[in-house]
């Protein structure tokens, strides 16, 4: 039993949950509670905990008579139909006593967790409430308390308080408080660093009020999950103390004490010991399952994946002229959809695009228009549970959807490369830059380490990284943001990349560095002949860098045009509006800036006509009811609009 307590206490390790995440629809709490029921573990836990609660209320009401009734003629009996668990030394029915004891066991467990959690949360949130010096002292105190083994702490407290019901409650509370304090402290720290706490501080909100109003509500969820698990542990630990004679004492009795009484006769009447044992394990498992279920519900608030995404409107597949067979990328009616609580979301509703060899294609649009997912779909990197569909999808002559993982790796590693917005997370922080680059060559091209290392330095030089030999020996965090992004591009250049997909590669960079990285992309394109797909929200960046531009809106391509037409006279009202909104360095400074009123349709919305109709100044009746198909306007210029504009923007 001592071992069981030891494990109960030792395994009680706080689990961290998500903190202060923005929740959808503002009813996260309700959805979360429903989510607990949805997971099988959570549902089982909930049923078991409810059973315990009912029993702890009803037990003493119905069975206390039977539990008290002594019968000198039936002492120490074994299991029988009248006494399923036998009788004790005074002839009392053990099952009745067990059911009655549920209340005291539950009260002590919940009570001690309440006391311990309260103490822990109070101690853990103190550092956030106090000044710098006092905060440091409190943090040190928490460290010190954590240094004591909880089991020792519990037995020590049990001895000091002299045992008894109250002693056991305080003993477990004292043993769990330090780890709860630590949990609260770390969770609090992440919330106090957020901007809403900073804003409240600027308004002169006092620190204790900050903690009560902003911090605690935002860490409540992970704390509650840990509370549930702690209650399970408390059942076991307090029963353990009672078993050892340090907890509940006669004439009161709880499960631990019943176990103690039963254990002495385990060889004669095993049921007398097994009954309380099973009850203790049941309670421990019940709360553990409930907690696990809650963690599961937190981690995955998504419903199950639907079998078949609903058919979606798509513009007519286009027939692009010219080099039909040799295109680097060809996508027809490309769709990406995600299952969601509100139905199927389709951020990409039917994209047609081709990338010619040696071309720099820009994909531009507002946030949420599906441009990033389109880029990911081309490399087979759409995250689960997204579904990619297309009438035709070819990247370097292969369909990324039909490839085995191994073939996909070969295609991705050798001939395509991806550059993401945040270069800091694109590299492994514990590997030196040079060895990371070399890895690519060793794995995909079978180069020797030495040759690969030399090539890495050469490629870093090609990507205009200053002092490439030195940089190759450094770790990613030692590089500035711009140099990191150049190193990521160099990684893409390790193979014979024929397609480079860059998703907002310069958004996280300063303008001076942005200019250099864009110049590098153009340079890579002209020296290696690789095609580049540049995904960006910034129409000026795209206009400066690309040969051809695809404008996306609400998951559809609305215009596909050469870059000189983008400047001289795009036809779609949305493209023209994007251009008008772009801030640049010319133009009257204090003019009122043009904006696009309204919002684009969300990925779950359906629209019968043109997606831009509600925001368009040129819309006619037809626009609201009939989707415009892509029409050829000029050489390499196609637009999906019933009323295309002409002339300079």
């Amino acid at each position: 039993m001592a071992i069981a307590i030891w494990q109960a206490v030792r395994e009680w390790r706080p689990m961290r949950g998500s903190v202060g995440e923005p929740r959808g629809r503002g009813q996260g709490g309700i959805r979360w509670r429903r989510g607990v029921v949805k997971t099988p573990t959570g549902a089982a836990g909930l049923v078991m905990v409810t059973a315990l609660l009912v029993l702890s209320v009803a037990g003493p009401v119905f069975w206390s008579g039977a539990a008290r009734a002594m019968n000198t003629e039936a002492i120490m009996l074994g299991s029988s139909s009248a006494h399923p668990l036998g009788t004790d030394a005074l002839g009392r029915d053990i099952l009745a006593r067990l059911l009655v004891a549920t209340r005291l066991s539950a009260l002590t467990a919940v009570g001690s967790v309440a006391v311990g959690a309260l103490a822990g949360i109070a101690l853990g949130s103190l550092p956030a409430m106090l000044g710098r010096r006092a905060a440091r002292a409190t943090a040190a105190l928490i460290e010190l308390l954590l240094a004591f083994p909880p089991l020792l702490l519990m037995i020590f407290l049990g001895l000091v308080t002299g045992g008894g019901t109250g002693g056991a409650v305080i003993a477990f509370a004292g043993a769990m408080a330090p780890s709860f304090a630590r949990l609260t402290q770390t969770l609090t720290l992440s919330v106090t660093r957020s901007d809403y706490v900073a804003s409240a501080r600027m308004l002169g909100v006092s620190r204790p009020r900050l903690v009560v109003r902003h911090v605690l509500p935002n860490i409540a969820e992970p704390l509650l999950v840990n509370l549930s698990i702690a209650v399970g542990m408390a059942f076991m630990a307090i029963s353990g103390l009672s078993f050892l004679g340090m907890g509940v004492r006669s004439p009161d009795y709880d499960w631990g004490q019943l176990l103690n009484e039963g254990l002495t006769r385990i060889y004669d009447t095993p049921a007398a010991a097994l009954g309380p044992g099973v009850a203790i394990v049941f309670a421990g498992v019940a709360f553990q399952l409930l907690g696990e279920g809650a963690i599961g519900a937190q981690a995955d608030r998504r419903p199950a994946r639907p079998d078949d995404p609903a058919p979606i409107l798509a513009s007519k597949p286009s027939v692009a002229g010219g080099d039909r067979g040799s295109a680097t990328v060809r996508a027809e009616n490309l769709q990406v959809s995600f299952p969601a609580a509100e139905g199927v979301l389709t951020p990409v509703r039917g994209v047609n695009l081709t990338v010619a060899p040696g071309e720099i294609l820009g994909i531009v649009g507002e946030s949420g228009c599906g441009k990033t997912l389109t880029g990911l779909a081309l490399t087979g990197l759409v995250p689960e549970p997204g579904v990619v569909r297309a009438t035709r999808l070819e990247v370097l002559g292969q369909d990324p959807r039909g490839l085995s993982p191994r073939q996909a790796r070969a295609l991705l590693g050798r001939h395509t490369a991806m550059v993401f917005q945040n270069p800091g997370t694109a590299m492994n922080p514990v590997l030196r830059v040079g060895s990371q680059l070399a890895e690519t060559a060793v794995v995909h091209h079978g180069m020797s380490r030495r040759a690969a290392g030399a090539r890495a330095v050469d490629r870093l030089r090609a990507a205009a990284v200053p002092a490439p030999e030195r940089r190759a020996r450094q770790f990613p965090h030692q590089l500035s943001g711009g140099t990191q992004q150049r190193a990521v591009i160099a990684m893409g250049l390790m193979g014979e990349a024929r397609l480079l997909i860059a998703d907002e590669p310069t958004t996280a960079l300063d303008v001076t560095v942005q200019r250099q990285v864009l110049a590098l992309l153009r340079d890579v394109n002209s020296t290696t002949g690789a095609s580049i797909v540049l995904v960006s929200h910034d129409i000026a960046v795209v206009a400066e860098t690309c040969h051809r531009v695809v404008v996306m809106y609400a998951g559809l391509v609305v215009e596909d045009l050469p870059v000189d037409v983008l400047r001289s006279g795009p036809a779609h009202p949305y493209t023209r509006a994007l251009l008008a909104c772009a801030l640049d360095m010319t133009g009257v400074r204090d003019r009122r800036l043009p904006t696009i009123p309204g919002r684009p349709p969300g990925p779950g919305e359906r629209f019968p006509g043109c997606p831009f109709v509600s925001r368009c100044g040129h819309a006619g009746e037809r626009c609201a009811t009939e989707p415009p198909a892509m029409e050829e306007l000029g050489r390499g210029h196609r637009v999906a609009c019933w009323h295309p504009r002409t002339g300079a923007p």
């Binding site: 202060g20 923005p22 929740r23 959808g24 629809r25 503002g26 996260g28 901007d195 809403y196 900073a198 804003s199 600027m202 308004l203 002169g204 909100v205 109003r213 902003h214 509500p217 935002n218 507002e366 946030s367 200053p466 500035s480 943001g481 140099t483 300063d510 303008v511 001076t512 200019r515 250099q516 864009l518 110049a519 153009r522 340079d523 002209s526 929200h537 910034d538 129409i539 000026a540 206009a543 400066e544 860098t545 040969h547 870059v563 400047r567 509006a577 994007l578 251009l579 909104c581 772009a582 801030l583 640049d584 360095m585 400074r589 204090d590 009122r592 800036l593 904006t595 696009i596 919002r599």
Partner: protein, 328 residues
Amino acid sequence: MRSLTLREITVRLDAGRRAFTALDRVSLHVARGSVVGLVGESGSGKSTLGRAVVGLAPLTSGRVLLDGQDVTPGRRRRRSGPGLGIQMVLQDSYSALDPQLTIGRTLDEARQAALLRPATLAAQSAGELLELVGLDHALAAVRPGTLSGGQRQRVALARALASRPEVLILDEVTSALDASVQSAIINLLRDLRGTLGLTMLVIGHNLAAVRHLADSVAVMYAGQIVETAPTERLIGDPRHPYTKALLGAVPRLNGSVSPGAPDPDGANSPGKLPGEPPDPHVPLPGCRFHPQCPVGPLAVPDRTICTTHDPRTDARLRPHQTACHFAA
């Protein structure tokens, strides 16, 4: 509204071997009712300056004055700092609002703070504040999770305005937004300036956005201000080589490549800087820009003065208060 004066603000961050000077004797004046832009790249210290002024970053030395009255944070007791007189709107609209509170309650918090101040007008209702920033009253009942980035940024602005600050600091408030939403926020800020007569310090890395708001612009590099001038003059006639690089790097719709055209960014094009920004942990004598400067000792070897003398010493004597020995 009052004027904001920053005198020789120095901020040293971290301790021990990692310590570095994030801001080095920065002085700046924002006249009553005017808007000053502060531009520079990430890590130049522009956000740290805003945070230090409102007491969110520790001030090592220097003074913050509102109409000549010392409100330096941390000087006397905590409450005596700029208090509600200076409010800052932070960059990340997603973490700027407490996800657990409705918009109405977030604004109430700010309004209650304003009520505690003596000599303020009666605080506006949450509905009036929302209307002020162009939002629907009904939004007071919702939580931030349902709002778009632009709406969140408007709410953050309403919260800052609720306490009727003397000076408003805006830290990159539009940079995470789509172009159209960005323009709408800039229009809103200009309207508010007209109706409320706001004194503002606008921090941003995008000159194209800042120029639409600011009367004058200060350029920051590696924790120092290197040039200050009225917006038109700074853009039309930049003096510091770094300002020139910054202006040259702004992407333009009609300055670019066509297929097969030569790269417009030759080695000497204005947007291109050689080398990398200096390591802030290593103090550098002379001009902090010299390891990257296209007109400094890298390009002209006999310009050794750049590596020995701090150009800020005589900056007041040069046009635009330029911290450059060879300001054109």
